[in-house]
């Protein structure tokens, strides 16, 4: 039996618009996704903001009811057997929130240990070992409001592991962290993976998914657009070359001209400080650099680099064509 089984899961949110003439609108957050996560596997859900990643995690952790479809976590239905699921799963989300700021890390962990029914005899040892695991030993008596974002995030992970859950849900655990803090959190996650924990990780950082996940799925607009190992997803774009052009103030018309060039498969842009990075994907072997530069004549350009595609390129391609 898989640790997590999801079949045709749908979720719609109802919102209202207007004050006098209230009009009801339905927003489709999940439009029938299906997947399985095996025991001991680290499975990644990748997608842009609003893709449905957090909605999926909330349904699986019993915080949200699905509109239709079924989900099973360790054989239990999160909608109907919430108590059974809650005893067996841990939930960690990214960001500053989710802790009692005016209490110390130790007080936070003691409280959640009591709420999550950690036996009294094991409580102290469990908290000590988790503080050690997340690198907060020695700082545990300080108030959480004095912690950096990275420290808070590691405390979140310790809290999520207090009751030694069989399945761990990590919802964008490195969001907003500086590179050093993010690396520390990734190291902690890798350690948990190596211990054999089943982990469902959501992220929109490609390198994170590439480094950590054994399998992943790309979700966009509430639907799965691809799934497989990171290598399998990368293979989708291995027959391509990516040309990166650093530019300043290139308009949409110029980008459309690039898209119309023969041999160009896709054109995307990314903001990099004051510059805009134009990412052009083309078939391997097609020499397009000169033609691209010709179309951009008159624009202020910086470096131009041709390189092999990464998982991020595969992701951008998948999300854009979804």
């Amino acid at each position: 039996m898989a640790a997590i089984e999801v079949t045709d899961l749908c979720r719609r949110y109802r919102t209202h618009v207007g004050i006098v003439r209230r009009r009801r609108t339905d927003v489709q957050a999940l439009a029938g996704i299906s997947f399985e996560v095996e025991r001991g596997e680290l499975f990644g859900l990748l997608g842009p903001n609003g893709a449905g990643k957090t909605t999926t995690i909330k349904i699986l952790t019993t915080l949200l009811l699905p509109s239709s479809g079924t989900a099973r976590v360790l054989g239990f239905d999160p909608a109907r057997q919430a108590g059974e699921v809650r005893r067996r799963v841990g939930h960690v989300f990214g960001g500053d929130r989710g802790l009692y700021d005016r209490l110390s890390a130790l007080d936070n962990l003691r409280y959640f240990a009591d709420l999550y029914r950690v036996p009294v005899r094991e409580k102290r040892a469990r908290i000590d070992s988790l503080l050690e695991l997340v690198g907060l030993k020695g700082r545990e008596r300080e108030r959480v409001e004095t912690y950096s974002r990275g420290m808070r995030q590691r405390l979140h992970i310790a809290r999520g592991l207090l009751h030694d859950p069989d399945v761990l849900f990590l919802d964008e655990p490195t969001i907003g962290l500086d590179p050093v803090g993010a690396r520390e959190v990734r190291e902690t996650i890798a350690g948990l993976r190596d211990q054999g924990k089943t982990i469902l990780l959501t992220t929109h950082y490609m390198y994170e998914a590439d480094e950590l996940c054994q399998r992943l799925a790309v979700i966009a607009g509430g639907r799965f657009v691809a799934s497989g190992t990171p290598a399998e997803l990368k293979a989708r774009v291995l027959d391509r070359t990516v040309i990166e052009i650093e530019s300043f103030g290139v308009g949409e018309e110029a980008l459309d001209r690039l898209r119309a060039l023969p041999g160009v498969l896709s054109v995307a842009t990314e903001q990099r400080d004051q510059a805009e990075l134009i990412l052009v994907q083309s078939s391997v072997g097609s020499e397009l650099t000169r033609a691209l530069l010709h179309e951009l004549e008159g624009a202020t350009l910086g470096k131009v680099i041709a390189r092999e595609p990464t998982l991020e390129d595969a992701y951008v391609e998948l999300v854009q064509t979804a």
Binding site: R11, Y13, R14, T55, K58, T61, T62, L63, L64, L65, G83, R86, R87, H91, F93, G95, D96, R97, G98, L99, Y100, D101, R102, L103, D107, R110, Y111, F112, D114, L115, Y116, R117, V120, R159, H163
Partner: protein, 254 residues
Amino acid sequence: MIRAFASGMRVHVVQFSRNPFDLSGVFLWPILYASIAYYLLDAKHDPRLLFASSLGAAVMLMWSLVVIGSSSALENQRWLGTLELLVAAPVPFAVVIAPICVASGFVGAYGIAATLVWGRLLYGVPLVIAHPFAFAVALPACVLAIGMLGLVMASTFVLYRAAFSLGLALQYPVWIATGLLVPLSTLPAFVRQIGWFLGPYWGFRAIREAALGSRAWTYIGMSVAVSAAYFVVGAIFLRLFVHVARSRGSLKLT
């Protein structure tokens, strides 16, 4: 579950005690309520009435501290992002929320004591308690009755985001319906009947009778019975409203 309850009480009292704004309110309000008791009824020449009005003012303060304390604590859970974690805990949600209300009730018990002491120090209100043992039992019974009414209110705070505003709005109706603000004899009969369903009605009478009268144990018994009923109703409401919040997806909204 007892451990979760005790731990919850500790956390919420510590969290509350580390907010200077809340603390200064708890220090100043008893002086204000002691003054209300002294000037409102103009009972300077009747020590018994003066003491009774001080007790009424003290229970008014207690209700304010409970309803505002528990509603702001619930709203804080949303702002801190901990509400979802509390809902996702394997212990029943009533066991998670009840300590917030009872912790507010204990702050309210301090409010009663402080109001009476300030009344004595500033206005010479006599503090002669007729039945000290019954008074010692009546006080926690009153805390429980008011705290558990807070639990029933708290169930709605889980559903609605503006918990604090709702808490503020509930202060006066309960003061009036339980005879804390004005004597019930001056109000229409149906108001008294509403009061029977409210914990502060029985809690106040338990304290007042223990201090001044002779029927304290009847009212203490009613306070406990009402508290038990509130706990059951609160637990059912919490279960129902958490289900609605899970269905609407509103637990994370601030």
